[in-house]
Amino acid sequence: MHELSIAMSIVEMAEEEIERQGCVQITAVHLKLGALSGVVKEALVASYEMACEGTPLAGSRLVVEDIPVIVFCPRCQAQRALSSIQLFCCAACGTPTPEIVQGKEIEVAALEIEEWAPNPV
């Protein structure tokens, strides 16, 4: 269960962004999560809520985009999506390939920010 420490890193990164951007409220964090990241999405989302408690991120959402594994097929000389992470073969010609192009990401892609204008008197 290393999802809590990953969630805490995400919250820290978002907090840094709040400081950088000045007085803003983050309502959501968009995360890209590779199928080979070693991170379980459900556990991460649950941990995120915990990690947010008592921080300026409390109440914000974690929006996870699943990133599928893409490999490079040496025979087709092309990038192919992997049909299963239990079988590293080209989906078109069946050639085994260990060459991963995408799928290990744990990346904060974007933040949803709300800027509150001062109340009109």
Partner: protein, 227 residues
Amino acid sequence: MGAEPRLVEVRKNVLKQNDLTARGLRQRFRAAGVFVVSLVSSPGTGKTMFLEKTLSLLGQNYRVAALVGDLATENDAIRLARSGAPVKQITTGTLCHLEAAMIENSLEEWDLNNLDFLFIENVGNLVCPSSYDLGENLRLVLISVTEGEDKPLKYPTIFNSADVAVVTKMDLASAVEFDWHSAYSNIQAVRPGMQVFKLSAKTGDGMQEYFDFLAARRDALRAAIAI
């Protein structure tokens, strides 16, 4: 009162800090000429026995040392110290994996220039360690014949992140009806081309082939540094 929601692009790797620390470690290891091997396995695979034998046998010809990650006890470090090699325990508390910063902190009193091989034993866990680069030159995944041939299919991510696989406790293979070909093809399915060693740390069968491989990898790295 007007809320203006907007999307700010960030594109930051969450494990960036770990990756940076690992990169720094790799440079240090390279400068010192030490070849670093990390070990991952399930609890109970026989990682400590395997490492104990590695340290005492490889230690006859090379200067070896080990860092050992464990949740709570120092038992593994005490066992490994019997080999005569320098051993340091990293107690992770409740953390289920080692991170690059823990390796960095543990190396403070060691002169890496006096080492040929450094082994890092990760916490027994086939899930969490896969995401964390420790600056190692080689990640070795260890399974034993008693765990079943489908272990690679159950934990494809860690097998995929490893560079070499070792199947140990081969002395028990026939007793547990271990199917070597099935295990081998499962490893190849999740990591095509991965080199696999079969051995018994207890009897020593197959260990020499694995040592020769480590020595060759170390020589190749040193040759690359010399150029």
